[in-house]
């Protein structure tokens, strides 16, 4: 398996390299990092603009900038991915892109981890129940909820959930669910439990919103996979052998039915990252999503590159994890 993992990781290098070239080219043609500076009021002097141009390496051609971004050779020590430097930001020389991406990633992971775990758990549970009670009232209800969540745009779903949270607070007469930020504005003086309660109050609404976007698709996959497995010969055989229904479901049916969901879940990680862009904006979390929005808005090229490379790496790793999970779930698969 180790050889397989190493081989897969090596394959990702050219993939990420090609993706980085493509991304860099796209970013380069879609915006001018100095655009905000040029329309600043009062207008900055030409000297200031030129100095910024040089600081951001915009005085060099695009291919040279890409090489700089990748290797750092010929730079001022603030650029070069291979040297651990992500490059300068339009937000000034003090802005450390790497540190910022890492800090924002922590915030986003908190949101995504909770949402993914909940979504997967719910999707598996409701998918199995739907399949086992196909065409029952329960199945129709769960199907309706799934399609509803699937059909609703993430930003709108987020806004609705926020409204619901505000309404619930109104009914309770106190603020249980918070609508902006990952924590209260002023957490000084809070003890540990108050901090946990505060973090929870801020986590609930965006997590539910993000969870529903993942859950909707996954529950449908799980239902379909489960139905297929339930109608297969080996499950019928297991029943015929006199195995208990629960044993058949858990040991034989569910395990096999999880394989398609594993593939889909890995790919959907990218969609969930995209979902965080909207959810973090709606709920004003300062995570990877809002970092992307700010970087796009300000044409902050190296921040965008850092974001895209990290997201790309995560997707690659998620796919690798899915491949490895196949081996765990399906005894027929062996990695050599």
């Amino acid at each position: 398996m180790l050889v397989f993992v190493i081989r897969r990781l090596l394959v990702t290098v050219p993939v990420l390299l090609a993706a980085s070239m493509f991304s860099f080219a796209l970013i380069d043609v879609t915006g001018d990092p100095l655009a905000d500076l040029l329309v600043q009021q009062p207008p900055p002097s030409q000297e200031v603009i030129q100095a910024e141009r040089e600081r951001l390496y915009l005085d060099r051609p695009a291919y040279e900038r890409y090489w700089l971004w990748l290797t750092g050779i010929g730079g001022n020590g603030d650029i070069g991915l291979l040297q651990g430097e992500f490059g300068p930001s339009v937000q000034g020389p003090a802005f450390d892109v790497g540190a910022e991406v890492a800090a924002r990633m922590g915030v986003t992971l908190r949101l995504v981890a909770a949402a993914v775990l909940l979504a997967l758990g719910l999707a598996v549970a409701t998918g199995v129940v739907s399949a086992m009670r196909q065409y029952s009232v329960v199945d129709h209800t769960l199907t309706f909820i799934g399609f509803l969540a699937l059909a609703m745009p993430t930003f709108w779903l987020g806004a609705l959930i926020k409204e619901a949270g505000v309404w619930a607070n109104g009914q309770l007469g106190t603020t249980v669910f918070s609508t902006i930020g990952a924590s209260a504005a002023d957490t000084r003086g809070m003890d540990l439990w108050e901090r946990i309660a505060d973090a929870g109050g801020h986590l609930v609404l965006p997590t539910v919103a993000l969870m529903l976007t993942g859950y909707a698709a996954w529950s449908r996959y799980q239902r379909t996979a489960m139905l297929e497995v339930l109608n297969s010969d080996y499950v019928r055989l297991a029943h015929a052998k006199g195995l208990r229904r629960r044993t058949v479901m858990r040991r034989h049916a569910l395990r096999t039915a999880l394989i398609p969901l594993t593939s889909v879940a890995a790919v959907t990680i990218a969609e969930i990252l995209a979902g965080t862009v909207l959810i973090e904006t709606v709920f004003q979390w300062r995570g990877m999503g809002t970092l992307l929005v700010e970087a796009v808005r300000t044409s902050d090229a190296y921040v965008l590159m850092g974001w895209l490379m990290l997201a790309g790496t995560l997707v690659v790793l998620a796919n690798l994890a899915a491949d490895l999970l196949y081996g765990v779930l399906d005894p027929r698969i062996r990695y050599e």
């Binding site: 001018d32 002097s45 200031v48 020389p93 409204e163």
Partner: protein
């Protein structure tokens, strides 16, 4: 902070159902409404802008104030920190020598900081001085004085002046005119002498809240950090240190106790504040939140208490006006929308065509349809430099048909200039004029405006193609437009704006106007010794710009602010970058 507030009578399920219905209909909930400029505790602000919502303050309390975008740095001198958001974040921290009051006509010196009003020592060479009050101190007890003023000016200059090596001042402008800076022996008076031939009629505001530093930065911390401010390289290093370090200093009523550039700063009263009016709030939280749709739920939820957004939003204003315990104030702000023509375009280099184009555009219709919902009192702007209530204002368009939407007059101008409208298409010598690229950023107000302009120009046979701009700075810098709509910000200090917008040597004269008479009028502004004289030259230049049909002002874009009940001494100052935070030290909860 307050608990949950009642918001209308909607129940949750009904709200969700209504939201579903609205979304299904593709509706945002806007439309209708209208209403007056100011309401609630700000009802008097229209007639009494400087003291409305004044009152006794109770001791204690907390407020969370929303700033509608993110500050880029910890000082406002650098390019990344140069925004109203950074200025508002630092309000109450950075002391300044004065500022304009909300009426835009009254200038108030900070007599807590100054011992006396600034003095004009000489007109030739142009020399003036500021004397700081004996009791004025930073929060650590260090006196505020000449050294601080000199350090601030050094950091605001460009490298070429030799005061600072590596300072990235975003707008050296008036500071590069300084020839000498001198501190008195007691360190309380600083005297500035400008270069030969240079003058500055706005000298009183040299260190005020409207300048790029937003006031005066501390010098004494430089020594603590190992910098010698007599060494230009050290000044540059200190510039960067201040720019990237959370201010632990304060020369204002509050001090920052915690904060970052992505979420908020938390401020508490400065124990060493020397001002006459002491702050009463225990905590002021300035929160950065760029999602305007999140403000109303957050306000309902008691998570924020007020804010002064930089952009108008009809839907949000209507929702805020529907909240019973929230006051909303809308009025003309310090940014003006205008339509510019590219004078280097093959066709638009003809001034007669430009005049006809501007004559065909109905400016009043555009401003009413752009801003009339939130601010029905909005009026067309008739002077590029001065707002209608400025003492220097003259109606520069009174004798001109430009902006009237008079298609017949426009057609007459074209006919006299040798153009013909054939089958609804404007031609000259048998060749079609245009079509022109009509551009603006993608926001709805501007895109709607472009459609109106397009329909007006169709009446004189001018075809246009609307193109949205994603990168305004790049488009303007590259002159990648024929007709463009965008905004300039302004301030009661007006000296630098006209030159930057119209002088042939300015990098911000995007449409390429190159008229010697305009340049001469603008150059004269740099030698004026009084505001009246400078205003006269600005109006002279403005008249020439009207004659050249280069820029058609539309309106001072309205701004709004909102606050929940229970707070006093909060009012908007729309002519000021600090907006409502201009008197943050006076804010308080209402005394019972």
């Amino acid at each position: 902070m307050a608990n949950v507030r009642n918001r209308s009578r909607l129940t949750g399920p009904a709200a969700v159902a209504a939201a579903l219905a609205l979304a299904a209909a593709g509706c945002t909930g806007g439309g209708g409404g209208g209403g007056t400029g100011a309401g609630g505790v700000w009802e008097e602000c229209e007639s009494d802008p400087n003291t409305c919502n004044s009152g006794e303050r109770a001791d204690g309390g907390e407020i969370t104030w929303v700033v509608s975008d993110f500050p880029g740095a910890w000082t406002t001198v650098s390019p990344e920190g140069g925004s109203v958001y950074t200025l508002q974040m630092l309000s109450g921290i950075v002391p300044s020598t004065g500022q304009w009051a909300p009426d835009g006509e009254t200038y108030e010196f900070n007599m807590d900081l100054l011992a006396e009003e600034p003095e004009l020592v000489s007109e030739d060479p142009f020399t003036f001085s500021f004397t700081f009050a004996d009791g004025a101190e930073w929060d650590d007890g260090t006196p505020i004085g000449a050294d601080d003023a000199i350090a601030t000016v050094k950091m605001s200059t460009s490298d070429e002046e030799g005061w600072c090596e590596g300072c990235r001042s975003r707008q050296p402008g008036i500071y590069d005119d300084v020839d000498e800076m001198e501190a008195s022996e007691d360190g309380k008076t600083v005297t500035f002498t400008l270069k030969d031939g240079r003058a500055n009629p706005e000298w009183r505001g040299f260190l005020d809240a409207h300048q790029i530093a937003g006031g005066i930065l501390p010098a004494h911390l430089a020594e603590e950090q190992g910098y010698d401010l007599d060494e230009p390289a050290d000044v540059g290093a200190y510039f960067e240190w201040l720019n990237e370090t959370v201010p632990e200093y304060s020369g204002g009523p509050y001090t920052i106790v915690e904060g970052d550039l992505e979420t908020q700063v938390i401020m508490e009263p400065n124990e060493n504040w020397y001002g006459e009016v002491q702050p009463t709030l225990d905590t002021v939280i300035v929160q950065f939140n760029d999602n305007e749709n999140s403000w109303v739920p957050a306000l309902t939820n008691g998570e924020i208490d007020g804010g002064n957004p930089a952009k108008i939003n009809d839907d949000v204003i209507e929702q805020l006006r529907g909240m019973p315990e929230v006051s909303v104030d809308v009025g003309p702000g310090a940014s003006w929308e205008h339509i510019d023509l590219n004078t280097e375009n093959e066709w638009l280099q003809d001034v007669e065509l430009r005049r006809a184009v501007f004559t065909a555009i109905d400016a009043q219709e555009i401003v009413e349809r752009s801003y009339g919902t939130a601010y029905p009192e909005v009026q067309r702007k008739t002077n590029h430099t001065f707002a209608a209530d400025s003492p220097h204002h003259e109606d520069l368009f009174g004798d001109s048909p430009q902006g009237t939407g008079d298609a017949e007059e426009a057609a007459r101008i074209l006919e006299e200039a040798g153009y013909e409208i054939v089958d609804g298409t404007l031609e000259r010598d048998g060749e079609q004029v245009g079509p022109f690229r009509l551009r603006a950023t993608a926001d709805q107000v501007r895109q709607d405006s472009l459609q109106i302009i397009q329909s007006h120009l169709e009446e004189i046979g001018v075809a246009t193609e609307i193109e949205a701009i994603n990168d305004l700075g790049g488009v303007l810098g590259d002159q990648d437009y024929d007709i463009v709509q965008f905004g300039w910000s302004t301030s009661p200090w007006f000296l630098i704006n006209p030159g930057q917008q119209w002088h042939s040597g300015s990098g911000s004269n995007f449409g390429g106007l190159d008229v010697p008479e305009v340049d001469e009028a603008l150059d004269r502004m740099g030698t004026a010794t009084t505001l009246e004289e400078a205003a006269e030259y600005a109006n002279d230049a403005g008249r020439l710009v009207v004659d050249q049909a280069y820029v058609l002002p539309l309106a001072d874009e309205p701004r709004y602010s909102f606050v929940t009940d229970g707070f006093t001494n909060i009012r908007d100052n729309r002519q000021h970058s600090l907006r409502a935070t201009y008197n943050i030290g006076e804010w308080g909860t209402v005394a019972n």
